[in-house]
């Protein structure tokens, strides 16, 4: 609401945040000085030179806005996917149509309207009671991993009919949570003589959900133990996957009768199926560090980019199959775990959690993972396998008898030589040799390690695990 100020004569005027600009000072000072000099030294040609700036100064003063506009900004969407855009919009409401509340003098109002009429005719626009905001400009700095449209983040518009809306499109190119703004909104009056700056609004938070990589797996689930889901169990039952055609037994549903076979053999036969069951998948995300340069969805991916997008893809794949999925994050403060659940709403919960990961904010060793897992759960650990802590956790889980698959998400090209640091490449190569030895040891301990390659990354290893699932396992309890 516009604050009002009482004048000496008792009339009310709104308080204004409009401030004169350098341009107005220039026009006023030079106009008055040259005009007085022209009179004093009797040089009418100096008065001609002073005329334009003097006219501009008087004109600017005449159209000085007396009331503050109001500005309100909002975001169209607070949650987007990587590569998607949202719009930041600011609405500046001009208050030129306001009239003073009770207490404003009639004479003052009439005088204002007469002046406004003349000013309006000169301006060639609608009648106005006083000057008003004429050009509104909004400036929005681009947040990290975002592109703006227009690219400069600056939009300007002429105020014509009271309100003006300025829109800047913000495209987020990387998952995560980041702030947009604060934006600067500036209005100028006629001849850019007065300037008004809106109070800074708090920045808006936009959550960018990771865009899951393309992932698919045709391998059977390792330990399908649940009651629902699309994974084929080892037992026949009421499901969708064909098992055999067998003679009718008591309790079989009539709709399962296989009539061609029954007609041929003369006895009732039914189609039997494997029961559909779900499995419990636990995705462990290593966020101890983020290696490599991230250029967002359009460019090079860092290790955490690959990890997060792969985690989203695996979660999406299993949740669509009706499996139960849980997520545990290592090395990030605040985000620890997403409890086990299923369904499309759970996918959103998983992606929301992945978007809040801040790498390396909690590098303490909390000892063994307390996942609270039931027997038969499949643990998929996504890690660049640079931090020894992640490998220790994977080994600890495997020794407890759980099925663990480690997915290597280290991006390629990370050991390229750095021109500014000759030891950079050497140090990386030494670390990778150590890493190679660590991976060999953990594979010898029975934990498979596969490189993330998108669709089919886990097929071979899951098939092998499924084949060996029935074998006796040695577990330390």
């Amino acid at each position: 609401m516009t604050p009002w100020r009482r004048q000496r004569d008792g009339s009310l005027l709104p308080q204004s945040g409009w401030q004169p600009t350098i341009a107005h000072l220039r026009a006023s000072a030079t106009g008055v000085i040259l005009a007085i000099a022209a009179v004093l030294v009797r040089r009418p040609d100096l008065l001609v030179i002073a005329t334009p700036v003097l006219v501009i100064a008087v004109w600017s003063n005449w159209l000085r806005p007396v009331r503050d506009p109001s500005a309100a900004d909002h975001l169209a969407h607070h949650t987007v996917r990587e590569g998607e855009a949202t719009t930041w919009r600011v609405t500046v409401s001009d208050v030129r149509k306001d009239i003073p509340p009770d207490g404003g003098t009639i004479a003052g109002t009439i005088a204002g309207r007469i002046a406004g009429t003349i000013a309006g005719r000169i301006e060639g626009t609608s009648l106005r009671a006083s000057g008003a905001a004429e050009v509104v400009t909004a400036i929005l700095a681009a947040p990290p991993f975002s592109t703006l449209e227009p690219a400069t983040g600056v939009v300007s518009s002429v105020v014509d009919n009271g309100d003006v809306q300025l829109t800047i499109s913000v495209r987020s190119t990387r998952w995560g949570r980041r702030l947009i703004g604060p934006a600067r909104v500036v209005a100028t009056s006629a001849w850019a003589a007065f300037r008004w700056t809106a109070g800074s609004e708090p920045p808006r938070t936009v959550t960018t959900l990771p865009l899951p990589s393309v992932f698919d797996s045709s391998s059977p689930a390792v330990h399908p133990v649940g009651l629902v889901g699309l994974s084929r169990s080892a037992r026949p039952g009421d499901g969708s996957e064909f098992a055999s055609v067998r003679p009718f037994q008591s309790g079989d549903r009539l709709r399962r009768i296989h009539w061609p076979r029954s007609m041929r053999t003369g006895t009732l036969h039914v189609t039997s199926t494997w029961s559909d069951q779900d499995s419990h998948v636990v995705i462990v995300v290593d966020a101890f560090n983020d290696l490599g340069e991230s250029e967002g969805i359009d460019g090079q991916a860092s290790s955490l980019d690959i990890t997060v997008r792969a985690a989203g893809a695996i979660a999406e794949h299993h949740l669509r199959r009706g499996d139960r999925v849980a997520v545990h994050v290592l090395g990030a403060r605040g985000v620890v775990r997403v409890p086990t659940a299923t369904g499309s709403a759970h996918l959103r919960r998983v992606l929301d959690t992945l978007a809040t990961i801040e790498p390396g904010t909690d590098v303490r060793d909390h000892g063994g993972l307390q996942l609270g897992l039931a027997e038969g759960a499949l643990v998929v650990m996504l890690s660049p396998l640079i931090s020894p802590l992640a490998l220790q956790r994977a080994f600890a889980l495997a020794t407890r008898g759980l099925t663990v698959v480690v997915v290597d998400t280290l991006p390629s090209g990370i050991v390229e030589d750095d021109q500014t640091d000759p030891f950079h490449g050497v140090a990386w190569r030494i670390r990778l040799l150590e890493r190679h030895r660590e991976l060999r040891r953990i594979q010898q301990a029975g934990v498979p390690v596969v490189q993330w390659r998108g669709p089919g990354s886990l097929d071979q290893v899951l098939r092998d695990l499924h084949r060996h699932a029935s074998r006796p396992r040695m577990a330390r309890r």
């Binding site: 040089r43 501009i56 003063n61």
Partner: protein, 181 residues
Amino acid sequence: MSLTRLDLVQNEIASWTVDQIVLRLAVVATPLVAISAAFAGASSWSPWLLLLVLVGAVDCATQIESNLGLLMILLLAWHWGVTVDDLRTPWTLVAALALALFHTAMAAAASVPSAGQWSAAMRIRWLRRFGVVATLTLASWLAQVALAGSRLTGSGLLLFVALVAMTATALLLRAGALSRH
């Protein structure tokens, strides 16, 4: 330190839009036109003054929100007053319009950030206003030319009235420009 400022200026120039480039060129060119009009009116010229005006104009173009523009206008007007004696010369109109365009270009360039795009409505509005100012300037020049040939005698009363009018205008501008809080 100067390198930092140079970098800032380079970044600033790199962000200029076409509209801003046109306006900044006008800021550089118009003082040169005004001083050239003064040279033409006085039939003499000074390379050092031309260089000074050029440097000042370039500085005004790069720092659009500086007070140097005010000094530039006063310098050019002072130079006009001390060198040009012919009250009926048409170069007066050229100088007046050049200074008006100089001020208008600086004000317009400062009204929108250097990276901001100008809409057609904004261009039309500024051009229309400048047309009004130019017309009034032309009218005042015609009146001045007419009065210059009429051999008016000096009048103490007229001088007093003119000074009172100027003082009233100055007070009006001061009262209007200061914050009303």
